[in-house]
Subunit: 134 residues, 2 copies
């Protein structure tokens, strides 16, 4: 298939596919009359990229991830380390989001006379303490 169809099927822009090729995230595609042709394999790869990227991986990270996947060997230590690091990042995101959630819920449901008073009562120092629990 040509780039347009691939783009439609992967639900992203052709320009993004060309960009991925340029930065080496996708292999340089075969050409027919200088137009890129793709296989179902390519679609899978792009879907995986899209998935990872929507999950918050950066493109260099995904490149690393994919490079760890080429081998027919068991999951390597390099990849494991990467996944571990990402895992703790994700955990941090979850924790911070939870703290923000309760803060917002409090601000929404408290009975302070004004938002300003409420925020002052919560006190910045407390908020910042929350913030620092990274």
């Amino acid at each position: 298939m040509k780039i347009g169809e691939l783009a439609r099927r992967a639900e992203l822009n052709s320009s993004a596919i060309r960009y991925y090729e340029k930065i080496g995230l996708l292999p340089v595609a075969q050409r027919h009359s200088n137009q890129r042709r793709y296989s179902a394999e390519s679609l899978n790869r792009i879907l995986l990229i899209r998935f990872a990227s929507e999950m918050g991986f950066t493109l260099p990270e995904i490149k690393l991830f994919l490079s760890g996947m080429k081998e027919n060997a068991p999951v390597g230590p390099r990849w494991k380390k990467f996944a571990q690091r990402k895992l703790s990042e994700v955990q941090e995101t979850i924790d911070r989001s939870r703290r923000l959630k309760s803060l917002l819920e409090h601000l929404l449901h408290c009975r302070c006379a004004s938002l300003k008073i409420c925020v002052e009562r919560l006190s910045l120092s407390a908020s910042l303490r929350v913030l620092r629990q990274k």
Copy 2:
């Protein structure tokens, strides 16, 4: 205090403070010989901004938030709506992160012969289904 001290105390760069003033997130500071002077009040405001921004609010959002805080009235409906929207965004982040976490944990602990086989077994369609549960 001058901008440098404020910056040190708020733990951000002076240039950021000037930037905040420029985009109207901070009021234009009083000058002595053309140098900005700040009060403890300013420090509080900046700490609040920093807190909100590290919590994932955009600067325009924070501007809105702060504008909702000026009044000595109870929390307005505009602000409530904003907080509600932010709350559901935060919930979404938590959910997505949790799904990513279990996916990563699986990839780390499964007994597949290779990462490639494992990912194929999980199957992209399943991953994408997970992804779409927005």
